[in-house]
Symmetry: C2
Subunit: 216 residues, 2 copies
DNA sequence: GTCTATAGGCTGATAGAC
DNA sequence: GTCTATCAGCCTATAGAC
């Protein structure tokens, strides 16, 4: 790794941590420069603008996560028939493993994705980065549970993403609503409980496709 | 309604719409003033600061939503035994009805809540406003499905909120991942499909509490 | 209650020395 | 590649006329 690349990594790490903590708009380029221990001008030299710096922060780990998820999907594709639960694991486990073992930056990244995904402003950035793999997983869900229509699979996928984002953002909502009895920091435990939750959810959704509602 | 209150409502409406669209930090007090058609100084006269203006925007509809949810919970409490599905409806339907019939401001509010809930900065604001009703619903979930531990009920509640927020934020994620075949704008349809999804989810979670996992 | 003018500070970006 | 100095613009908040 050249000197320039190492400098860029330091800047990306600092930007990631600050953006995750305080939000893109609140953090100034000076904050990032101070956090990285580099002069202000160097950031613009390497990344061009604040906006491009942010995009680079998002892109860095998105690529790694997408690769691992693709691999996990290929793995379970070999063993037929594929179950919904296997697809859920292929989606959640790569993220869990990276968050647990991939260094502290992944914790920041989780918080960052949560903010970015809900801001209208970065919508294209997120869907450009994650849209392709999303299509793969919607296909896998529909294949694993034939009762699911395409619409249901897509809706279910979006719900799954909402839950996933909430887990890896690890904000304190859970701690507070549980009066401190459950901690949001234990992402492994959160994933373990999310699997049966989501497996049941897709089962319930599939069942509602075949059984008419009581009102009808 | 006095003149001052009407002016405040106009300011709140403009602030809500702009904040929802572009985010708190991006929107300036000048933007809000222009949107409301009032001079800049008037906003600080009525609300004191930008931060307090934002809190007022959040509080206004939170109080109304909490009241309706409480009422819905009381209603289903009268008919024993309470089902998970009834609790889900008590949680989602008031929000749906307000979003559908309560005027365009509720659409903005949905987007705003999504952003606010994921920003570390406003965490206390959200939990202060919604925490009490959250406790009521966690109790109701645990009562409706005795197999659920308190921890499971709390986790499930948080997941339910994640999904709800995603639905009412109505961002374009769903439209994009479904290649335009499903629209996120139809919140009624989204709620209808979320009910069996979540009912199945709590069923799956409860089942996982009694049945040991295959690995054990 | 409403409106105007302005103070004081921080922002992103860059020109130019090394 | 790295670092410093600086510019022009925008921000929130407020003092004071009406």
């Amino acid at each position: 790794m050249g000197k320039a690349e190492r400098t860029q990594a330091v800047i990306l790490d600092a930007a990631e941590a600050r953006f995750a903590e305080a939000g893109y708009d609140t953090v100034s380029m000076r904050d990032v420069a101070d956090g990285a221990g580099v002069p202000l001008g160097l950031i613009n030299y390497h990344f061009g603008s604040k906006e491009k710096l942010f995009e680079a922060v998002i892109a860095r780990r998105a690529d790694e996560l997408n690769t691992r998820r693709r691999e996990a999907l290929v793995q379970i594709g070999k063993a037929a028939p594929t179950t919904i639960e296997a697809v859920l694991r292929a989606f959640l486990r790569p993220y869990l493993e990276l968050t647990r073992d991939g260094g502290p930056g992944w914790r920041s990244y989780g918080k960052l994705i949560a903010q970015t995904g809900q801001s209208h402003r970065w919508g294209n950035l997120i869907t450009n980065r994650f849209g392709e793999v999303a299509g793969l997983f919607i296909d896998a869900l529909a294949k694993a549970e034939p009762r699911l229509t395409r619409e249901m699979a897509a809706r279910g996928y979006v719900h799954m993403v909402s839950i996933m984002v909430g887990i890896f953002a690890a904000n304190e909502t859970l701690d507070i609503v549980s009066s401190g009895k459950v901690t949001s920091g234990d992402v492994e435990r959160a994933c373990d409980s999310a699997i049966p939750f989501l497996a049941g959810a897709f089962e319930g959704l599939a069942a509602s496709a075949t059984a008419p509602s009581p009102a009808e």
